[in-house]
Symmetry: C2
Subunit: 144 residues, 2 copies
DNA sequence: CTTTAATCGGATAATTTTATCCGAGTTATA
DNA sequence: TATAACTCGGATAAAATTATCCGATTAAAG
């Protein structure tokens, strides 16, 4: 479903959120330990998320990554997915046809629409805040 | 969602089905022209589908590929997807965790279940027969 | 029996994705 | 002002996916 990079990105965002929620800043080493991901590869993904303003990076000693508290509720999973994997999951033909719409549909077009709407809805509705609450409350886990 | 190989596989299966439905046998050249796919790569995918008994291959002159008529209604899209992409779309954690279940869920676990069930349902319900009817009837298209 | 038209399957190449390396830049603090 | 603890970003490497090449095999038909 998601690329490896996107999985790391989602987990990293949630990890950062759990700290930001408590007013703490975290850093690369802590994040990749927390989500069990390769450090340097994770760094690239964090840079990408930072350039796209989903997280705020602070350089230098005691630096690291954080998310503005007021953004925790605003950032939805779909924002993260689109930043890393683009929107290929949400637009375009399920069979990879260049042209495919209701007037000239591929054979799975109509069936696919429902799946896609469902996926879009779930990812659009789920905020980082909710995720990080679950993790901080011991209801969900990042590292298994 | 699906790998390129899987997209070609799905399209190829539908292409073969449209011919088999009419009692005709088709071949690699015709298929890859029909679905606009690279011939040799498509050949590999057809071999895979053949080894897994989803299609029947006939070697030699006038050979090619066909699907038993009685199988057109039995083969579902999910069978093709599982043959080519495996079941990674249908099992395992959406965030790539090794252990993730209702008792120790990842943060998106519960939300993901619905999406996955929906996807599984649609792909399990849709038969090749239905797809090929749509294409033969001009209601759907493979090559755009 | 030879030619022709097909699939089979191993090898290789190209591209994309995943992962790592490392020097440069930034900032807190002693 | 020197050092330590960070991120930044370009370069490279490794692995997986996508794609191609080509000789071997199979079978129909002249």
């Amino acid at each position: 479903m998601f690329s490896k990079a996107c999985e790391y990105g989602l987990k990293a965002m949630i990890s950062i959120a759990t700290k930001s929620e408590k007013g703490q800043r975290t850093n690369l080493k802590e994040i990749s330990k927390d989500i069990n991901s390769p450090e340097q590869f994770t760094a690239k993904i964090l840079q990408q998320l930072s350039r796209n303003k989903l997280i705020h990076s602070v350089q230098g000693a005691h630096g690291g990554f954080e998310i503005q508290k007021e953004n925790l509720g605003k950032i939805k999973l779909i924002d993260i997915v689109k930043t890393i994997d683009g929107d290929k999951l949400f637009v375009g033909c399920g069979l990879g046809l260049n042209e495919c719409d209701a007037s000239k549909p591929c054979p799975i077009h109509h069936r696919f629409i429902g799946i896609r709407e469902n996926l879009t809805k779930v990812l659009s509705e789920t905020s980082l805040e909710k995720m990080s609450h679950d993790v901080n409350g011991g209801l969900a886990f990042l590292n298994r």
